[in-house]
Amino acid sequence: MTGLLPSRTGSGRHRVERVTTEAEPAPAGPAGPDDAEVGRRFAAGEEQALAWAYERWAAQVHGMAVRAFGPGPDAEDVTQQVFISAWTGRAGYRPEQGPLPAWLTGVCRHKIADTWARRDRQRRATEAAVAELNAAPAGGPAPVDSTVADRVLLLGELDRLGQPQRGIIELAFFADLTHTQIAERTGLPLGTVKSHIRRTLERLRDRLEVDGAALHA
């Protein structure tokens, strides 16, 4: 079983350059509908819309995953999971509530938080195994990293917020805008923005103090 290939001549390099040069100008333009239409077809379960969504927004999703985990298997797994979950959970996407790429960003936050939580479980399992090996006195299970658990809980609570509350708090958390900037961006009165921020933060606080306490117990 040794059909060795003959020696390379080194002539492949120009081919590489040609192929990549061709790839650059490839426009997404004429080959598909506009983003809003892709979102509607995605929600309707049209398979081609998943392919279009990937063409247009996989790099944005993967950029977030790489920012969180660096390039490699964890980031690649997150990006795959985002599109798989988005497709299987497309019933949860409402085009009238916002553009598809923003929704994909939200799914990506969940997957990043899930990956942190999984790593934390693995860490505790490893620590428990080490403790057992060392015949350490049973001191109970290693503590959960509460911030990691909080994130999973809180992202779930954000999903339950309606608009404009959700958009407002996301601008504060994820775009680092002040309430004044949020008011300018959304066109909502300053007082309205402030009171939405307060109510949402109180809601998140309650969620953490009620369910979070049970979770960490």
Partner: protein, 263 residues
Amino acid sequence: MPHCTPEDLGLAALGEPLADDEAAHLADCESCRGEVARLRRAVDALAVPELAAPGPPVAPPPGLWAGIAAATGVSAAPRADVVAASAPAAGPVPDVVPGPLPAPVEPPTEPVAPVVPLRPRRSRLLLAAAAALVVGLGVGAGAVALANRGDDGVPVAATVLDPLDGSDASGRAEVVERADGTRVLQVELTAGAPAEGYYEAWLLDESVSGLIPLGVVRAGTEEFELPAGLDLGEYPVVDVSVEPLDGDPAHSGVSVARGQLDT
């Protein structure tokens, strides 16, 4: 001085500066500071750079779609050249793979292993990225079945795969053009399971200086979508190799069956 309003407590939890009077009160009031701390727990958990609004886009590696297609059963596929061109790939990814990376496969005792290395790793990945490969990666690794595509297409080229140098592998390969103009290579392989590693299908040019990896093959029939624009006259040779599970995407140099498409 009255306590801070609930609105101001919320803004303080977000780290926004308060007016002087409110800020002075907050500094002295344990009750208000306690409220801010309770509200801030959510802010601290979520307002972190890793969850922030998307930053610079990074093109996903070409193999990523295969896992999504396998898990969702969706047969429509993104155009790989569009995905590759949508953003730069992740930095020097292939060169900073975490963890120990085996040295390039160059068997020290064998005088000839001429295929590997083919060319600098980076260029190989560019070729791969541009050529729309379905190389298994992560979830659902391996060949993606395109069987339920619904149109059978027209055969445009075929070849018998002859065993090489004492291998027991043989088979047949056929290129089929579908109604929408896309082409698939169907590989029908008869072979025992390799002693170790896995079989991989490639298209080679006649001088064997250019290689296009297609994906993992098992005994039986597998289909691989060919990159749009690929000139079969330029890459007419269908090759099946045995690849060790060493993470190196290059051809191992060990081929078990080969045939030239009659285009």
